[in-house]
Amino acid sequence: MTPRFAVGAPVNVRRGNPPGHIRTPYYIRGKSGTVERICGEFRNPEELAYGRSGEPKQVLYRVRFNQKDIWPGYKGPAKDTIDVELYEHWLEPVR
């Protein structure tokens, strides 16, 4: 499976609060960051959670966000970051 996003690509995290088991933290949904690395392909945990196969595998990314973009009123320098692991189906290109 070819990763849809390259290292350094800007990405948006999908919004929304679908039912079920979700591996995308609530606080990061709808935010914008940059692909820090491509971690490889893994079975989809949101399917595995229900005893299903988790196939097809999903590309997993580590995305870096600026803390100031995530938390209003973040107390710390503008260059502080947070990295979150996100599966490809949670990411959208920045237009």
């Binding site: 606080y27 710390g76 947070i82």
Partner: protein, 210 residues
């Protein structure tokens, strides 16, 4: 949960087992016995496998992470491999990765400090640090480490200037993170074993420095 545990790290015995139901057969202890015995009776697991898994767990602890850190401090080529591919370098150093998850090693420098948390559950680099401490799994740590990392660090006695970038790593999926702390000053003549003895668990989670 907190009622059961009154010891702090500064207390007389920080690792005392929970005193509450040591000798009583609670509902959940009964469940464990029941499920385990049923799985053994069905031939899905054996008692030996369970015993071995517990022994393996007991054998894992922060000394493994400390070994990797000390080796990285004395061997720049190893450090480069460790940061490039944590799992492979750890295996090379004799630390087994028997999990599907992969190890990412993040390096502290004078400019960057790394802090690890799992906000969704309690993901932890067990292959190199063993089972996580209770506070790592606590509501307070998981809630706050992401949005006020500097305040959490200060509670652990770690005060960083604004010149230092704080990088939080939320361990949300299949990666596990080990912080490579900075080598303390005045240790130039230390050998690897002596260096490893300096490396604390908390410094490899990133809540403290050395």
């Amino acid at each position: 949960m907190m009622d059961n545990v009154t010891h702090t790290h500064e207390g007389p015995d920080p690792h005392a087992p929970r005193p509450d139901h040591d000798d009583t057969l609670t509902h959940h202890k009964r469940l464990e016995i029941a499920v385990r015995e049923l799985l053994i009776e069905k031939g899905i697991l054996t008692a030996d496998e369970i015993r071995e898994a517990v022994e393996r767990m007991d054998a894992r602890g922060p000394h493994l992470g400390a070994k990797l850190v000390a080796k990285a401090w004395v061997d720049p080529a190893f450090k480069a491999r460790l940061v490039e591919n944590g799992s492979a370098a750890a295996e090379e150093a004799g630390v087994q990765m028997d999990q599907p998850t992969r190890l990412i090693v993040v390096e502290n420098t004078p400019q960057v400090h790394n802090l690890v948390v799992c906000t969704l559950c309690s993901c932890y680099p067990r292959m190199v640090l063993g089972i996580p401490p209770d506070w790592y799994k606590s509501r307070a740590y998981r809630s706050r480490a992401v949005h006020e990392p500097r305040a959490v660090l200060a509670e652990f006695g770690t005060r960083l200037s604004d010149d230092v970038t704080v990088r939080v790593h939320d361990s949300t999926a299949d990666m596990r993170y080990l912080v490579l702390p900075m080598r303390p000053a005045g240790t130039d003549d230390f050998d690897e074993a002596k260096l490893a003895a300096l490396v604390t668990r908390d410094s490899m989670i990133g809540v403290t420095t050395l």
